[in-house]
């Protein structure tokens, strides 16, 4: 194709991009052309303005992307996902991430319950590369949803039980997917609805606390500043809840109190400040928790 080799002026280029995007979206609905269209569109999706409304409003495109998703359900268990299958479905997920990110399509995307079709991908156990890509890309879609700080989004995700799926990845994922999963939990916690949800029962709080603690212990072996940052932000936010703050007096890892991570945080003043605030909150007096009606220990006894 000669036009590809000779990029013209910006305007021509822009028009060509648009025409190209439209053609590729059209090709998505053709099973014979779909694999290549998925690849090309997901590669270039940042270049196409308003790709998300085009994907959503064009006939059958979302239906076709859903077919891509459910078509690999059979290879999830026992784990038989090939790298080619993983790449292909990840390209479809990248387009859905586009739809999840765009303000015009985000609520339509939620209202059609599309994120729920990704949940089986977060429920996998295999650590092989194709599964790890799939997990990471799926988390990317959820991450795009929570990034906008919308209570409605948070409520949707909580009601569909995203938290156990995030905790699962935080326990067994790669460093990168752990980081994205922790980021999602952080964003949920930063919303009042999310903090209440986690702190409503002792079981939920301790499930989150245990996973965060395990990650801290693992980080002592293999440090990751960006993961540690999100973990500390989660703890700090939990300490805003009196009962959770009280429980953290006992279960906050000692490694966050000593010098284990001081070199790791040397270049990150924000996280250092968060950690100081966290230690201050947790080190404060216990009056607040009792005023709030007793801590988690009391709830567990019941």
């Amino acid at each position: 194709n000669s036009s590809a080799a000779n990029p013209a002026g910006a305007q021509v280029n822009k028009e060509r991009k648009l025409a190209s995007a439209e053609n590729l979206v059209l090709e998505l609905s053709n099973p014979e052309l779909r694999e290549n269209a998925l690849l090309e569109l997901s590669k270039k999706r940042e270049l196409f303005q308003d790709l998300a409304p085009l994907l959503w409003n064009s006939f059958g495109t979302i239906a076709a992307l859903l077919q891509e998703i459910v078509s690999i359900y059979p290879v999830l268990s026992p784990p038989n996902l090939t790298p080619a299958q993983s790449n292909r479905v990840c390209n479809a997920l990248a387009l859905l991430q586009c739809v999840a990110s765009h303000s015009e399509t985000r609520m339509l995307f939620l209202n059609a319950h599309i994120p729920l079709y990704l949940y089986p991908f977060l429920n996998t156990n295999s650590k092989s590369r194709p599964f790890e890509y799939l997990r990471l890309t799926s988390l990317g879609v959820i991450g795009a949803l929570v990034k906008v700080d919308d209570t409605e989004v948070i409520s949707f995700l909580l009601s569909t039980e995203i938290i156990p799926l995030c905790l699962r990845t935080m326990e067994m994922g790669s460093e990168l997917s752990k980081t994205v999963a922790t980021f999602i939990v952080q964003k949920i916690l930063l919303d009042d609805v999310g903090l209440d949800y986690i702190c409503t029962t002792a079981e939920r709080f301790f499930a989150v606390g245990r996973v965060l603690g395990n990650m801290v212990a693992a980080l002592a072996e293999q440090q990751s500043t960006r993961l540690l940052k999100h973990i500390i932000r989660c703890y700090l936010r939990l300490s805003d809840n009196p009962r959770a703050c009280d429980a953290l007096r006992n279960c906050l890892p000692d490694m966050l109190k000593d010098a284990t991570f001081s070199s790791c945080l040397r270049e990150d003043p924000t996280t250092r400040r968060w950690l100081q605030q966290l230690l201050h909150n947790v080190g404060g007096n216990r009056v607040a928790a009792f005023q709030a009606g007793g801590g988690f220990d009391h709830m567990l006894v019941n």
């Binding site: 194709n1 053609n23 053709n30 014979e32 006939f59 239906a63 459910v70 038989n80 729920l116």
Partner: protein, 319 residues
């Protein structure tokens, strides 16, 4: 590769049990149970009596909430997408048909993928319970239980998948009828069978002609997207399981089921040759000229498309 092979080896019509043939909720399951020869060799002939009961109980233990959840999700998705895509369709039977195909496939797929691990646990539990009173050595039991579970797990999944499909088909019409009757009234009152303002303004207005649902009838390729939901994903399983259960087409769907069979749709190896596109639109040419903003941090990606995906994923973290 898994697609074609699986289908040619086990045509739905000749399969021992296809989803469409099993009446919900639980069929005469005993006749479908696989009795592994090894059990006979282990002296466990009476398993033939016990296993069907354990299977039925295991399915009952977990089925209801999984079917309910799958049907709820699939119904909502189908309602939103079909009503959107068929906004300009005047023939209601086409709308219902598309909705049936989609909801059956989505509900069945969700139920199947969701039930597999819980069902494995439930079958194991029920088998252990069944043998508790009997005098079987622990060692023998530890051999037999996984054997029976693995042999019959797909059967149980097919039963649950079918139950979800059936229920979804019963549910979907009620979800879209009201909206369709509103459209009908609008047609009868106003004259044109579609709302012209929806078509030219609003979100549809920005969509190029070729990509929009058209007033009147849809193009063949447009319609085909929904027909493709008759693809029975669980038939595409490669031969990893000796008795993969082929899920038949949903009984109530009236789509051209055969159209899905010849496709390379689910094939993972379908890397099309560049020549295939040479008569196309020139869309493929762009890739060479557009450097991608690839931010990969410490990823070690082997493929460009993953890289491009990861840039925005990592971008997520900055918020």
């Amino acid at each position: 590769l898994p697609t074609g092979q699986g289908l040619s080896q086990v045509p739905p019509a000749q399969s021992p049990y296809s989803v469409g043939q099993i009446p919900a909720p639980i069929p005469n399951i005993g006749s479908h149970i696989i009795f592994n020869q090894k059990l006979g060799a282990l002296g466990l002939h009476y398993f033939q009596r016990v296993v069907p009961i354990a299977m039925e109980r295991a399915i009952k233990d977990i089925m209801a909430p999984i079917v309910q959840r799958s049907v709820t999700i699939a119904t909502q998705t189908t309602k939103e997408l079909v009503l959107k895509d068929y906004a300009m369709e005047s023939d209601e039977s086409r709308v219902y048909n598309a909705a049936h195909l989609m909801v059956a496939s989505l509900a069945g797929s969700l139920a199947h993928v969701t039930c597999k691990e819980p069902l494995r646990g439930a079958i194991t539990n029920q088998l252990r319970n069944s043998f508790q009173g009997l005098n079987i050595g622990t060692e023998l039991l530890e051999q037999a239980v996984p054997l029976v579970t693995n042999d019959n797990l797909d059967l149980g999944c097919a039963v649950i998948e079918n139950a979800a499909t059936e229920k979804a088909l019963q549910t979907i019409d009620g979800e879209i009828t009201q909206q369709l009757s509103l459209r009908r009234k609008h047609r009868e009152g106003v004259g044109p069978y579609y709302d012209a303002s929806i078509y030219t303004q609003g979100p549809m207005g920005v969509i190029p002609e070729a990509l929009r649902p058209r007033p009147g009838h849809l193009s063949h390729s447009q319609q085909r997207v929904y027909e493709d939901f008759v693809r029975f994903p669980w038939q595409n399983q490669s031969g990893q399981s000796s008795n993969a259960v082929p899920a038949g087409p949903p009984a109530a769907s009236s789509g051209p089921g055969s159209s899905g069979l010849s496709r390379t749709y689910a094939s993972s190896s379908g890397q099309l040759s560049p020549g295939f596109y040479s008569t196309g639109t020139g869309a493929t040419g762009l890739s060479a000229t557009q450097p991608l903003d690839l931010i990969s941090e410490d990823m070690d990606p082997t493929s460009a498309q993953f890289l491009s995906g990861s840039s925005s994923r990592i971008g997520v973290m900055d918020g």
